[in-house]
Symmetry: C2
Amino acid sequence: MMSEVSPHDSAPLEREKTNITYSYEGVIGWKSVRYLRPFRGMYHDVRRRLPHYWSDIRDAWDYRTVPSIVRMYFVNILPAIAYTMDMYRRTGEFYGINEGLFSSALAAMIFSLFSAQPLTIVGITGLISLFNYTIFDIINIYDPSIYPSFMCWTAIWAAIFHWIAAICNVCDYMRYVTDFSSEAFGMYVGIIYCIKGVEELVNEFTTHGRDAGYLACLIAILYFLTIYGLEKLGASTIWKASVRGLIADYAYPLGTLFWVGFAHFPGNLKSTHIGFIPVTRAFYPTQDRGWLIHFWDLEVKWVFVALPFGFLTMLLFYYDHNISSLTAQARQFPLKKPSGFHWDFFLLGCTTFIAGIIGIPMPNGLVPQAPVHTDSLTVYETELRVIPTEEGEGAELRRPVVKAKAVVEQRVSHFIMGLGIIGTMTGPLLVVLHTMPTAIFAGVFFTVGWGSIESNSMLKKAIFLMQESRFIQRDEPLLSIRKRKILLFIGLQGLGVAATVAISQTIAAIGFPILIILLIPLRVWALPRWFSEKELDVLDDLTADNSAVLRSLGGPPKFPGQTELAHEGLARRYSEQRSGVPRQRAGSITR
Amino acid sequence: MMSEVSPHDSAPLEREKTNITYSYEGVIGWKSVRYLRPFRGMYHDVRRRLPHYWSDIRDAWDYRTVPSIVRMYFVNILPAIAYTMDMYRRTGEFYGINEGLFSSALAAMIFSLFSAQPLTIVGITGLISLFNYTIFDIINIYDPSIYPSFMCWTAIWAAIFHWIAAICNVCDYMRYVTDFSSEAFGMYVGIIYCIKGVEELVNEFTTHGRDAGYLACLIAILYFLTIYGLEKLGASTIWKASVRGLIADYAYPLGTLFWVGFAHFPGNLKSTHIGFIPVTRAFYPTQDRGWLIHFWDLEVKWVFVALPFGFLTMLLFYYDHNISSLTAQARQFPLKKPSGFHWDFFLLGCTTFIAGIIGIPMPNGLVPQAPVHTDSLTVYETELRVIPTEEGEGAELRRPVVKAKAVVEQRVSHFIMGLGIIGTMTGPLLVVLHTMPTAIFAGVFFTVGWGSIESNSMLKKAIFLMQESRFIQRDEPLLSIRKRKILLFIGLQGLGVAATVAISQTIAAIGFPILIILLIPLRVWALPRWFSEKELDVLDDLTADNSAVLRSLGGPPKFPGQTELAHEGLARRYSEQRSGVPRQRAGSITR
């Protein structure tokens, strides 16, 4: 597995040569105002990526593509189904499994074939589920029957805003996103996932009774422990690197297979009537309707009420999708092919539009799962680092250091995963899906959610603060700044997370993208007043830290009052240098 | 907590001076045959320890005594209750909670006041429970009504064999016990504990129905994770050493309090009728009888049938009690006061006799919990070890190393714990006991059992074999011998464990002490044929490794064909030197 270093070096065009074209360096006057130069970003995105299209197919002949397809199928579809069940219950059964699968399949087909960065997996997120049922709650106050058309108009407006944003190069502003906001977002998503897991279990109690509820809790906890344990094993130094790799690659399928089987053991387990995924007739909408929403029947006033909802949707996707794309292309992955944020955001407008008019959930970039795809395609090598110590003859310490050697950059894994989802939509496979207890999905929520929390640097900084300082390595960069500054930094992040989690539990939940996005100007304008440049260098880092990615966003950002950015993210770089690149556990936005 | 170094150095007599008296060094002829010199061991045990009696009380004025009492109360009484419930179900309800508590209290009183080594906690073990219900199964075939008298005679015979063994200095042979058999025994005990935990949960399903069963599983698993997590936290470098110490000290009370409360939450939890500890009228036997067993009513033939059972009981206690005493005085604890195996074994004969004639379970040394008492009395200090590396200016590694500074050696903690158990026997506290769900006890079984398995060096050697060898530190002693020899060693141990576990599930279970004890001659006579002296040096170690303990056993053993023993246990010593003394988790026989 480790031997076949993939052949992407054969890409015909040097990314350096093509990337240099999209820049505002040295440009002055109206030409430097980015939104005044429509289509410029999209044009360069396509021009940069198109020459690589053939290699995107040819490069897929690599073993890593296989586990990547399997892993992404599970990591994508399990949460998608979980969210769809949540939406099913909370939108008057409008969105069902068929809609959810359709949406995932549609996104996979369009983005694997046409996107500029096929590494970014697009699908159903917890946030769109939250969005959809909050809108249902609001519409329900007036007239629940208009919900389908209203959602359709929300999507149409959202699509229009997407296209405007893409055309006006608005994605360029993503270069200002730092870990300050993106990790707060990652923490928020992790917490929401865990809450969803608990809600799923509570629902089991109310709909299937007490014994089903307890069994569901058991399965969810044991499923979580299984996946968590297998992934820890995969990251250990037990057995050969190839065996460990297999365990890490197939942790989800193995765990899922086992616990689905467990729920069907004859005896007490089988006769406890726990909930299984509700399925309906294949390829038909869950409700008795045609696929096309009759959006022209909606009263005009409602069409305009949908406008702000559409704008909020765009705001959510702007942040959520681009962050997921950024994390899929983080600096730790040795990517060689160029990216294209503007073109992909335009494409996202298209899927949003289609999703709207056929009444399926709007897909967008999956935040915690995004880097998992790149990770599953990365050729890792565990190297031995021998640290000679000064303790007598031949004394040394041996430490495994994981190095990312190459990434099998292609669009075939994404495409075949999409075909797999289409396959799942067929009658026979829907029957298989129906054998899955809903408790598994609570387990998936916990696994993905906890993964996002555990790897979050907010938590790491908090642990640093609590640690007895004499055991901290002296070259730890965080030691160079005062503890109360670290506390202030994660305190501000924590405030943002708390506010967003709180608002998500109310009918004002659709406003949460505003809160998240407000963290960016807070970082750009307010933080430099409270922190010195050096402190921010250590505490924060650009989320778009891959220089190739920055080129697609029109060059690195210039923060007000900051002289240079080269030294940011000292803490993270320090950790990478010590122990190598961490493998990406399912569900970690941060590295 | 770390500051008060206890005042045992004030012990009036040097242990060196008193210990030297019991030795067979240079003795020849019939005088060197140990069993021909009755009372010699017991006499010296008392002579050595008696001068320390006053200091055993005075030295107790130390903070460490407090957490020690709390921790031992929980670690002793929770498994005892669990085993008693097991016996209650499987001995026709002859042994109940009152009998179990009485036995624990009796043992604590006698051993805290009169033993030569009050660190060894004596109580109800899983093995005596196994013994008692296996005898019930056998007697049940003939006439269940004679069970109480039969058990009484078994105890009387056992007591007689105890006294003979103690008088004839038979405990001296314990010096031949090595980790080969004692770790196989630790593994066996750990596995039996886990099996008991599962049986407890299965019983919940059969007696209280499905929802109670599932809830019990949930509580047991979460209880296990709570204690395990708290103990891991206590061993980390988070917070100050004193706070960590508190967490480690009170992990059991905290976890138990929380999960008992959890089971009483109103709503689903409260209305699920899980099982609670069955209690009867305080201070009265569970069955309608007087405390004295009418053993004189038993037919003479049954009296003699009880003889071999009594012998097997003695064999079990000989191994079990002395091993627990040895592990409580392992080399890693800096003990200063002398021990006395012969006297304590005589005393065990007395408790066995009393337990027999009043019809309570026979107590003996608690194997996995024994070192926990010494550990709870040990003053640990986490020191910083800075390892300079050869990586540039000022490069270094910082590592916490736990050092055992002193042990608060006294008999007061044992005594007050015993008073606590007597208190628990009273009416009001029996009511409190009745609020505890039996599921907690399944959790206790898992915690204690897994503790014994996780820290077992059989497992550590197995992990060593599986590890990718390039990441193993070069100075690891196990690297110096061939892998298949390690495999053979743990294979032989594993065979012993498997045979013992298997026999424990049958009516032949009472024979298991024979199997365990057979491992000692196997080690002494057979292993030197298959392993070189050097290999055994690395793989094995004396269980009685504390030189003060060896003095009480009449000097170090002489293995046939072995020139010297000084280098045994290289692997363990190596690990201690690297990372210090591990804190003793509840339930680890090995260090």
